[in-house]
Symmetry: none
Subunit: 261 residues, 2 copies
DNA sequence: AAAAAAAGTTCCAAAAAATGGAACTTAAGT
DNA sequence: ACTTAAGTTCCATTTTTTGGAACTTTTTTT
């Protein structure tokens, strides 16, 4: 057994309730001899993996670990991670999934996973659609304050379809609903007969924001399947949100998801 | 030499420009035999310190490191508190803010808040810059005695730019000024056209010390805005200093802040 | 599609580091 | 000042690590 095992075990001792460890902590937690615990902590400190708190016998993770840990976030960019989730859900469900980003009042698809079904929604990467009139757009707008949304549309907008919000008040009400539920939904908005479910997500460090979306023909999806989509998207997004410390993430609230808009 | 040394060296290979490493990277960067590099990366992955990107031969830091690294901020709660202040000021002003710590004669950014302005200073976490030639560094060096500062630089230093201190006497004079004013300022030092304002701060209980910094393009900031930055940083820092019973905190003395250096 | 080059892995005996029990030192509590 | 707890150092034994070379796999070139 390599000393790396022991070192990794030490790192696993840290948690939100244990910010530092001592020799005796290791003896208790890992059942290792005192002598080893003592030497291991010192060695890890000498190598820069840990640092002592002041000049006490308490050891905590080092700045090096903080920095390397930070990189993890960039190593797998937000879009990559979100795309992985959408890809998984799309594979599982068979319907088309994609990732969109917002640029001003428009949303643009960044990656797409075509569904397997004969009747499927085809999205093309790079298409720009109005943010207020799509589930992806509203999932992203919901991350703004009402004031910011108003500022985005100084001259209002015109609804392109029956089911899209007709004015600012209606949009803000839909956004409030999105925040409560933790997801946005559209029906017949951009394309007739098409529904879409979207979840918004951001990275506090980089400021990036994306929407995860699954879209499908309204006629072919049962209520149960719709719930599965919502759950899968929301769970995947929530994991990423925890990692990126997204403060504006709205967790799923299933009591709102029963009612189709 | 323990394998821990090698493992720590591997972690130090990661940077904002190198998110993952391969066997050959290690051979090149650390000059170790291929066989060692190969086994080391595998061992670190097996222990959960690294993970492979997809199923490629590229290794990146693991989730474990990301999690443990996150704890650093809370373990060193001073950073967390200081970061909150800088984040608030950065939001309010729109310019980039960050927190740095000193390691010997270098300062390293620990957290960053990108500004909102189109022209903004971009800092990368983990970058090491010389302490004597930066506002953050001088804010931290000002907390030492002149004797301690001299001891840090037994062989003196060479100024990297026109506006940086050229010798020890000039540095000590700048530090004295920093103590009187309660903040440090730099202009064109690390990057031309960039100014920065920093305040040093410590935690008596843990011995941690950090610098709070706001940095901005020299051309775009009015004298009034500069004063706002100074006041906001200093006030936020003073509050924390009271909380942590920092005995070496230098309170703001606005009569010194009128003169731009 | 074959050949060449590059990248990565496995093998081995020598060299170095880790182990754990006990003795020892330092710090904390009474 | 005494007692107890916490942490460190010592030692011979056991285990891991090391680096060169041979080997396999992957990538690039012809």
């Amino acid at each position: 057994m390599s000393i790396l095992t022991a070192a990794a075990d030490v790192l696993r001792c840290f948690s939100s309730t244990r910010h530092d460890v001592t020799v005796t902590d290791l003896v208790t937690l890992l059942g290792m001899p005192k002598s080893n615990a003592s030497r291991l902590l010192r060695a890890m400190r000498d190598e820069g993996l840990l640092e002592t708190v002041g000049d006490s016998k308490h050891y905590r993770p080092s700045l090096l670990l903080a920095q390397v840990g930070q990189l993890y976030r960039f190593a797998a960019s937000l879009i990559d991670r979100a795309d992985a989730v959408v890809g998984r859900v799309s594979d599982q469900i068979g319907h088309t999934g994609y990732i969109s980003v917002r640029r001003g009042t428009e949303v643009i698809a960044a990656t797409a996973h075509p569904g397997r079904h004969a009747l499927r929604v085809v999205t093309s990467i790079g298409d720009r659609i109005p943010a207020f009139a799509s589930s992806t757009g509203r999932a992203l707008l919901a991350r703004l304050s009402d004031a910011e949304v108003r500022a985005l549309y100084p001259e209002g907008f015109t609804a392109p379809s029956e089911t899209a919000p007709r004015d600012m008040d209606e949009l803000l009400e839909r956004l409030a609903e999105t925040r409560r539920a933790g997801f946005a939904e559209s029906h017949d908005e951009a394309v007739r007969g098409v529904r879409a479910i979207s979840v918004g997500l951001g990275d506090a460090a980089t400021g990036d924001e994306v929407a995860l979306c699954i879209t499908f023909p309204a006629a072919t999806v049962e209520p149960g399947e719709r719930l599965t989509i919502i759950r899968s998207l929301a769970e995947g997004a929530a994991e990423i949100a925890a990692l990126t410390q997204d403060k504006r993430f709205f967790p799923l609230n299933l009591s709102y998801s029963e009612t189709a808009p």
